[in-house]
Symmetry: C3
Subunit: 475 residues, 3 copies
């Protein structure tokens, strides 16, 4: 069993992701050497705060690395392997799957991940977290399972120990307005030095298409003592909970709407819309209008309370109807769709986009908007910045396209560094490492092509790895 | 005249299409050396089965290489050269054009193809099929014409001899359900060993916007003995003909719809729609709905009879009205248009996409869907795979974009290798060679950047050149 | 103060923008060495003809380089710097800003432009026009200001002297049909040898959404003596003014519509539409239809008078409402939007696209159309050619994407070389130099990958830098 990080084996080459051209590679190496050990700022993600509150050991390899990670089981499912065989929970509960058997299936099919970022992240985890150096396949499946399983039972692999070992300076989780934030309070009163904050994610109380909308409104009333079925009370409840989130360190809200649509209705019109939607009388169009109006309301609150506003649109959720019936949400069946920003964001930007006190961070799954819409918008509006390459595009080629297609119009300083957006805690160092390597490689090209001096690139490498995230998220 | 393949001349360099970086080039060379001589699997194309049934000599150079190839004459037409001057047939018949004169015009304007894949394919054909080594231009036009013309009269250049020489293991043509398949039957009973199959392409009996729809329905009745103007008889006719196609080796159907729209109507609703459309009372929207419903019906049949379902949407056919009037279909005036897959394919995928027995292969002319829609869909649904870079994108840059934009989400194993989709028989080896070189170059970059081991890349090079096509098309 | 061009300093490296790979770099150097000193053809731009008519000295550095250039102040504004502080005029007039103070703010924030083409152009101007060689930042701000300010007062920096020094063979400005063309007449009768022509840009008299539409129609009547509120008189007025523009050397018209929509109405229908629109009774849809019809009318006139028709669609103008209120048009708040060409251009192309006498040049801000729509269209229609990478895409990465995504389908010869489209006169040599370097680098890759012979690349390098612009714009 490994309790140190081992490098340089065949699983993770020290020059991985750097350009093959030797001149560029040398520049990339120099840039990377100055940023590789910077602490990790993870301002947007989906880890479970109870891990750090309770600090209990993680479960077995399959339960930790396989069953919760839709990046991984979607690929296996897509090749005809059943989710049951992988131990992925359904609405009926956890399937009765031997975790070692699930792991073997994964190992035998690990070749499917060739060329994907999951492969890079997993090899990094295997090698640098668990000290493994032979490639994973059917022949090494059991050895892998044993090494990882044993490690997970040791204190060095408990959540807080890993957090410290990973050199994480800050980690943000994501919670609903109806969350008690008890785990975060436990962490903060524990005496442990790790900084774990939350992000305010009110989708369930904003999106009337969400299956829990009505129930969430009730819980929202309970936790705030506000009348959340009146427009005034509803807004007051948001303001109250935003303060609660701020009290445990939160600096941002987060909004996962189907589109980037925003609206800026008059007060009376907004109230009438709210009444209709809450009464369950809204059409699909009313629901969209209400979501759009609420982004503008959130921006208005942000101007007052300083929370950064994150907008993540463009996913067609639960595309696979039968799978949604059997297994519910977040099972790898969310598919990106074409997304307009230029018209969609205009009401919000015309209302608050000229205010430099406000910070709006926009993400996209539609790469066509990088050069056409997002870079021109972020390069103009003082309030707007671009989140990093996101989700399916959180990958070497995706990051490269992001830089190539946004930098010339928006520059580097209207972007916000990297965030990992992950629930796979063990992969966080791997993901930040990939981002640092890819950004250093992009910068190395600019230097090698004499478009940037190396001292500038060095400053930028640090900004992209650390400074910009800290500044943009007001940390 | 040449009867052997000559290499290494100025027309086709042995390192063509490999990366300029020497480390990557060396890797690419090694990968390519293991796949360059693999037999050609051509599971989707548009060659004429009568060539292999009759084995008659091809005509003159202009008639063989110029007049039927809209990749070539569209470029010349676009620079103001008339189709008549090139010998391209119109509705009025073949123009009275001296083929040598047409060839000279082509040769004088061959510089227009610089940077296009047509140039790569043609130089390959000139050099490796005809042994020519001087560049084609006005000064060499006549010499070219004579060499090619003489060769075509020899037995070594008859269709079957070339098929054998090209090392083609399997070639699929494409036929309508109203085709007798006589040529295929002739080939199979001829004693010649070449394997030539068909693909079932029922557009004319499915697309009510097709000018031959009503006539084709009648022929469909004649050839099947079914009542093709009743819903039950119509479906039975499809089932019958699919079996006929299977009997001569067919393993796939092929559907060239304007969009990727699919529908999954109830039985009564589908029948009512059919009745309306067949009666000529359908609106444009009804025609679209019927096309969409039929893709789902074809999938239903595929689950039973095992045919692979190919969908090729997104071309705005016959964009040039005056040219369509004078020259008819397929004259280089089909223009790609923006194509949605995420909503369009949902009904079909929700009905049959979770069934691993089914194999659906989707192609696109809208590259924006690679990373946004197609790779996420193919990386999730067991039944769905991605066809290669298609038509205008069947080119070095197009193939590179395909790999760069699909691999990270769909991996390599949700793609189906290369197919040439061509009616230009002599260019088939050239096209497969380009694909093998470009894929090896892409893999070489992954190896040089330490994202893949070379032994994995070698396995993948073979899969992309040969194994995946064979598996995906159930050959 | 510098009166010679100094090279090779740290600001502009002699190998800038060439590939890092040494083999490719050597090829790129050789190609570039043959085209770098070719005269500049600038057939499309927005410089002020009064500069060359009056030949008065330019103002101070901030007034010349900062206040009029929305590429520059949009980035500074986007980071929270007020336009007043930069000396940018508002509707209230010029702010009372010390130009040296504005320059200092610019200098301190010059790092924001890292990775942008503005940085490349500005460093080129600083170094090659003003002989500066230290990087611009807060510490060099005053020295820069003094050097530039002193230079601008010398005769060597007057407009005509710079025009001659820049080796400009032809420069086109852009004027409304209501312009007297007096500056152009002055230039032509001045005895100075510089060739400055105009482009006919009738947006204000065609676009009923333009705030000056009605007033412009009146001026259009005044300057032509035609009844511009009758369809016949209106068309006659266009014809007359097109002749006036031709008389001072104009060879093209230019159309900046929101979309690429075209229409081809019957004569009576067109007249009825015109009457409705001019009477102020048109809907938004009527205005769009009228703009579309007028593109076809302009094409009809072009067939007669030979003017090249330029179409520049796809910008959502004045996106920032509050800024438009305070500062008016052209303040960096025009944002590209998704643009269809395949359906939009069909009426125009079906009417005139098969006529090789006509030359239509289309530009786009939506890069997704390069490979999907524009290259296939330009590779087929005799009348259609592709303008270069435009506006936000006039950049190294933008130009590379343009070549990579258009060449394989349209070839090089359906493109029209480079144009700078700028109002920043001093940056014209820098912009053409960037284009020449990027095109030579693209060609070098094709040569290094054995897709093109070097002698062909050399011919192409010259065509892209000089010949194609001259031919396409009929100069």
């Amino acid at each position: 069993m490994a309790d140190t990080f081992q490098k340089g084996t065949s699983l993770v080459h020290e020059d991985r992701l750097f350009p093959a051209n030797l001149d560029m590679r040398d520049i990339a190496r120099r840039l990377y050497s100055e940023v590789k050990d910077l602490p990790i700022i993870s301002p947007h993600g989906h880890t479970d705060p109870s891990w750090f509150a309770n600090n209990a050991p993680f479960g077995n390899p399959a339960e930790l690395l396989l069953a919760p990670d839709h990046y991984i089981y979607r690929m296996l499912y897509g090749q005809g392997i059943s989710l049951d065989a992988l131990g992925v929970p359904s609405k009926a509960g956890n399937p009765d799957t031997d975790p070692r058997e699930a792991w073997r299936i994964f190992a035998e099919n690990y070749y499917l991940f060739r060329g994907t970022p999951s492969r890079l992240w997993l090899d990094h985890v295997f090698n640098e977290v668990f000290g493994l150096s032979e490639p994973l396949d059917g022949s090494t499946a059991d050895a892998y399972y044993d090494v990882i399983n044993t490690a997970l039972q040791s204190d060095a692999y408990r959540p807080r120990a890993l957090f410290d070992r990973f050199n994480i300076e800050l980690l943000a989780t994501t919670e609903c307005p109806t969350d008690t934030l008890d785990h975060h309070k436990t962490i903060q009163s524990s005496g442990w030095g790790g900084r774990v904050i939350s992000a305010y994610r009110p989708d369930a109380v904003i999106d009337a298409d969400h299956e829990r909308f009505q129930a969430a409104l009730d819980e929202f009333a309970d936790i705030t003592g506000e009348e959340t079925r009146s427009w005034t009370g509803y807004l007051a409840a948001h303001r109250k909970r935003r303060e609660d989130f701020k009290a445990i360190g939160t600096t941002s809200s987060d909004h996962g709407h189907p589109t980037a649509f925003t609206a800026d209705l008059g007060a009376a019109e907004a109230e009438a819309l709210f009444d209709k939607v809450v009464a369950g009388k809204g059409t699909a169009k009313d629901h969209e209008l209400f979501r759009g109006q609420m982004l503008t309301e959130m921006a208005r609150m942000s101007v007052d309370d300083g929370l950064v506003l994150q907008i993540h649109p463009g996913s067609c959720r639960n595309h696979n109807g039968p799978l949604f019936q059997s297994h519910g949400r977040d099972k790898g069946a969310d598919i990106p769709m074409q997304t307009d920003y230029v018209h969609a964001l205009r009401p919000l930007l015309n209302a608050f986009g000229n205010d430099p006190r406000l910070s709006i961070i926009v993400f996209t799954l539609d790469e066509t908007s990088y050069s056409r819409e997002l870079a021109p918008l972020a390069g103009h509006y003082p309030a707007l910045k671009l989140g990093p390459a996101w989700w399916f595009h959180d990958s070497p080629e995706g990051m490269r396209r992001f830089r190539e297609q946004t930098t010339e119009t928006a520059g580097f300083y209207n972007t916000v560094g990297f965030n990992d957006d992950t629930r796979a805690f063990l992969s966080i160092p791997a993901r930040h490492d990939v981002a640092r390597r890819v950004d250093c490689s992009f910068l190395a090209r600019l230097v090698a092509e004499h478009r940037l001096r190396e001292d500038e690139a060095q400053e930028l490498a640090r900004a992209l790895a650390y400074d910009l995230a800290k500044a943009a998220y007001k940390l």
